[in-house]
Symmetry: C2
Subunit: 238 residues, 2 copies
């Protein structure tokens, strides 16, 4: 593994607790708007749960690329409908603000120290379905520093389309075999491995994408299987 | 100016002393190869001086995008010829190593502190003719941290083509009027201003691109005219 030059990191679920963060902001939103009777965790899961199906037409090329802000906003309105709420009943600023919860996702506790240690030895970059500005805002919100930021708006598609991984390697000037994806989700690691990247699985409680059956837990055979980024840093001597 | 959200920075000349750095590495290269009789500063100026004309066909679309590593390598071989040296007379590793001097350009002394102060208040990103990996290497070489990195390989053209500035604004999710370019070269600031960005001129000794007549010194009328990044940070309250 001494030939690894660049570490790419999945963000949603792997670096940040998206479900917990979205549930917390949904809770505040529902309370503020007199609908504290709705379970915010169920609402958040329903919202996040629409994600995979809604980006699929972008993956296949059936729909031109739209960034996560737009995907999330469409899914928010659909989720409101699902819970019997009319989007038009809320002040527009309220929905915009709730949608921006995705720019304030909270990093897992090991992130700042783990990433800083890994960065001392490797080039580090997020490789995410989030667009560049969302990733910049999430990183600033959590005090994280990367060497480069690879948003979905650069390759203009969504993982696990091979172009997402191969385009990131090309941008960072690295052969796939000299790069490693760090992620909590099997489908992501599987696609990276198929593209020739090394793989590191990081265990994250509740990181499963509720829209993907069987995405919790790890298959065997990743190059590293780690508890968290500190564990990965130890194993890589960083 | 309270509506500025993103600061873009020119790199070659503005953030790093490209002429001084290239001359120093050229000096070592010439000494190592028994040609200490050649003036390294003249060689460096001849090499850098080929830059503008060689990227012009990419700007006009006449040539498909090629990254700076390839442009520099072609110009290095032409410059060797100009000084009566045959590229084939050197071990290939020697020319590759000299070409990589562009990945080790040295930052001006005010950079680390100035950038860190500006980053505490604004989103900061290089917006450079260098490709992403070159910018990552230069930044790591000098211990610099950005929020995002906008290499020429993203818009796949070279400044001052408007798409370079407008594409960077789109990537960072900012309207041009809420972004500012920080640069030492008038042609760069002029193009940014035409695209609607705010402008800050930073004085740099010897920052002139020898391939561009009249690029030293500043015209009037930039939003800020500063001694260095510390001065800019003072003026922006960062």
């Amino acid at each position: 593994m001494s030939n690894i030059d660049v570490l790419f990191f999945d963000v949603l679920g792997t670096m940040v607790d998206w479900r917990g963060s979205i549930a917390a902001e949904t809770h505040a939103f529902l309370e503020r708007n007199g609908r504290g009777d709705i379970d915010p965790a169920a609402f958040a899961d329903a919202w996040v749960g629409r994600y995979d199906a809604s980006v699929e037409p972008v993956r296949t090329g059936e729909r031109p690329f739209v960034p996560l802000d737009q995907v999330n906003r469409e899914n928010l309105e659909a989720t409101l409908g699902q819970f019997g709420l009319a989007p038009a009943a809320f002040p527009p600023g309220e929905l915009e603000e709730l949608n921006l919860a995705w720019h304030r996702l909270k990093a897992w506790p090991d992130l700042a120290e783990g990433l800083s240690r890994l960065r001392s030895r490797f080039i580090v970059a997020p490789l995410s379905d989030g667009h560049t500005r969302l990733l910049v805002n999430v990183s600033r919100h959590n005090g994280l520093s990367w060497d480069a930021v690879v948003g979905a708006d650069i390759a203009r598609t969504y993982k696990p389309v091979p172009r997402a991984y191969l385009g990131a390697c090309e941008l960072l000037g690295v052969r796939p075999g000299n790069a490693m994806l760090v992620a909590a989700h099997d489908y992501d690691l599987e696609a990276a491995r198929t593209c020739g990247l090394k793989t590191a699985h990081v265990a994250r409680t509740g990181a499963a994408d509720p829209s993907k059956a069987g995405s919790e837990g790890s298959r065997e055979g990743w190059d590293y299987t780690c508890r968290d980024l500190l564990d990965l840093a130890d194993r890589l001597g960083a």
